[in-house]
């Protein structure tokens, strides 16, 4: 599904604080599988996620999505790909304060101009699937951490993307909620979505849901597939 070829990523390139966060990554992320990135803090996991999810471009190397080279595409096309093919679940959830749960969920679909009724129906359906239907009109800042994450998951799914990207999804959750999240993840994997996540949490990386763990250190991959 996604192939990375000798990806390198530099921050502040050309300045004296130049830093190579990724240094030669070759990775093939298979479709319809759950892949986890593991590694110490600062090893470049988040940076790799932003490159896979078209949030940023590699300094060197190629990214192929479904066989097509996307690393050289202009910003507009990257945005379009991001919108159609990727759903993001951020560590901080990154919901827009002041908006109701439903309004947050349908936000990624605004640029598509799809009918609002259709979007709301879909959002209700997603919320109901995560047992959050009763909080649909609550402003997101009133929701608990676990509820916020479920709203964020619904938002990631509104455009029905093939790939879900989650950065440290359980870092802000207690053990019980993390367990619930793994349950949700299992359901999503069962729907046939490709899932890429990063985690330190043994509960995540050692769970049966995760089919492949990739270890990273200092911007490089350590192991071949488990």
């Amino acid at each position: 599904m996604i192939e990375l070829h000798s990806i390198r990523k530099a921050f502040n390139q050309g300045h004296d604080n130049e830093y190579w966060a990724l240094d030669g990554i070759d990775l093939h992320i298979e479709a319809k599988k759950v892949t986890a990135l593991r590694g110490p803090s600062g090893s470049g996991k988040t940076t790799l996620l932003t490159i896979v999810g078209c949030l940023s471009r590699p300094t060197e190397g190629r990214v192929r999505l479904l066989g097509e080279d996307i690393s050289g595409l202009p910003e507009r096309f990257l945005t379009e790909i991001r919108r159609r093919r990727f759903g993001f679940i951020f560590q901080q959830f990154n919901l827009i304060r002041g908006l109701a749960a439903l309004d947050n969920i349908i936000l990624p679909a605004y640029p598509t101009g799809r009918p609002r009724r259709e979007l709301l129906d879909r959002a209700e359906e997603l919320l109901a699937g995560l047992k959050l239907g009763h909080r649909r009109h609550a402003k997101v800042e009133w929701l608990s951490g676990g509820e916020q994450q479920r709203v964020a998951i619904c938002r990631a799914l509104i455009n029905d993307p093939e790939v879900l990207i989650a950065d440290e999804p359980t870092a802000n959750l207690d053990t019980h909620l993390a367990g619930e999240f793994m349950g949700i993840l299992e359901g999503l994997a069962a729907q046939g979505r490709t899932i890429l996540l990063t985690s330190h949490d043994p509960l995540v990386v050692e769970s049966a849901v995760v089919q492949r763990v990739v270890d990273m250190r200092d911007g490089k991959l350590l192991s071949s597939p488990r």
């Binding site: 988040t46 996620l49 932003t50 949030l55 940023s56 910003e75 507009r76 945005t79 379009e80 991001r82 919108r83 159609r84 993001f88 951020f90 560590q91 901080q92 990154n94 919901l95 827009i96 304060r97 002041g98 908006l99 309004d103 936000l107 990624p108 605004y110 640029p111 101009g113 799809r114 009918p115 609002r116 938002r155 455009n159 950065d167």
Partner: protein
């Protein structure tokens, strides 16, 4: 097209929701903005309508008024002066005008006493302007006494009150017969206040003035063109209160725009990052903000302008009254005929809507072109 509209509606939805989050602040801003447009539009509408009115009405004033000047002061026309004008080609009529000012100690107001060239009232009778009617509580057939400058009391009967419709030109007039006028002011016989000349052909007016100036070096011809020009430049933007108002408005507007243009809060920057990360294009973010600027500035312009229109043309610009009245006791009550200058309205629109919309966009531009990967951190 339908898709485009659907998208814009979403963008407006979002921008309204973010405006609603800081409701008090944004409503306050909108209010200040409306007041600003209201003031500027009121001044613009009022002054333009007044200038138009003056131009139309005073087009009927005499072609040339001839004043005699003595030591830089307007002086009486002595007997024999009119004859010295002699026969100038193109001049149809030469008439002495008799008019002057009277300070009424009762109302502490100034009146303009005048002898009409046609249809003068009978001796002992006067015709009064509508403001006088109000100030002195006069009506037809009432008697009124004025103490003349020589100390004598003169009593007149009000034969008629000039129609309210003419108040803009006649508010303080007291019309009387020549005999009454001369008796009241002890006006020397054969003297006049100034001379009105009618010239049939407008092309000849300048020539006539040149000849008048040559024949009577101590005279000062005032052409109708000059009268009209005086009123065409009345309430010029450079003048006193208009300038003060204008600079205050511009200052307020500057603060408003600066507040917007000076940057985004961290919260807003974060939001833009989120929107871009979840699939909004840079263009969508900018359009969304553009709608914000447009909605606010357009709302302010429309409400401000309509309110100004109603204020000026349905409430006689009553908020300006204290300013326009000045120290005058007699103040004409008049309803301006709404002549609106499209170019002025367009200028007002341009200078109130565009800078604000631009001020909203500038900081967004900077924020919107940054990489969306920042949302993954922090």
């Amino acid at each position: 097209m339908k898709l485009w509209l659907a998208k814009q509606r979403y963008l407006i939805d979002f921008t309204l929701a973010s405006l609603a989050r800081r409701k008090a602040r944004n409503l306050g801003l909108l209010f200040v903005y409306i007041v600003l447009v209201f003031m500027l539009a009121s001044v613009t509408l009022y002054t333009h309508a007044l200038r138009q009115e003056a131009a139309r009405v005073l087009a009927a004033s005499p072609e040339v008024i001839l004043q005699r000047m003595v030591a830089g002061r307007h002086d009486l026309i002595p007997p024999g002066y009119q004859e010295r004008i002699g026969r100038i080609r193109g001049v149809q009529k030469v008439e002495g005008r008799l008019w002057g000012y009277y300070y009424d100690a009762v109302t502490k107001a100034n009146y303009t006493f005048m002898v009409p060239a046609e249809n003068a009232p009978a001796a002992g009778e006067i015709i009064v302007g509508p403001a006088l009617e109000r100030a002195r509580g006069l009506a037809k057939n009432n008697g009124i006494s004025f103490r003349s400058y020589s100390g004598k009391l003169h009593t007149f009967i009000v034969a008629e009150v000039l129609p309210q419709a003419s108040e803009l030109v006649s508010a303080d007039l007291v019309l009387m017969s020549e005999a009454s006028f001369r008796a009241f002011f002890d006006y020397p016989a054969g003297h006049y206040t100034d001379i009105a000349l009618s010239v049939a052909n407008p092309l000849e007016v300048r020539n006539v003035a040149v000849k008048l100036a040559a024949a009577l070096p101590d005279a000062r011809p005032i052409l109708r063109d000059e009268v009209l020009r005086t009123y065409a430049s009345i309430f010029d933007w450079r003048e006193g209160i208009v300038l003060a108002l204008l600079s205050a408005a511009i200052l307020a507007f500057g603060i408003l725009a600066w507040e917007k243009a000076s940057g985004l809060s961290a919260e807003e920057k974060r939001e833009i990052g989120i929107l871009k990360a979840i699939g909004w294009e840079t263009g969508d973010v900018i359009k969304m903000k553009f709608w914000e600027g447009l909605l606010i500035s357009l709302t302010a312009f429309l409400i401000g302008f309509v309110a100004a229109y109603v204020h000026v043309f349905h409430f006689s610009a009553s908020l300006f009254e204290p300013v326009l009245k000045g120290w005058a006791v007699l103040y004409p009550r008049f309803q301006l005929t709404p002549h609106i200058d499209g170019v002025q309205v367009a200028t007002l629109f341009f200078f109130t809507v565009v800078p604000y919309a631009a001020a909203v966009l500038v900081p967004i531009w900077k924020a919107a072109i940054t990489d969306p990967d920042s949302v993954m951190r922090s």
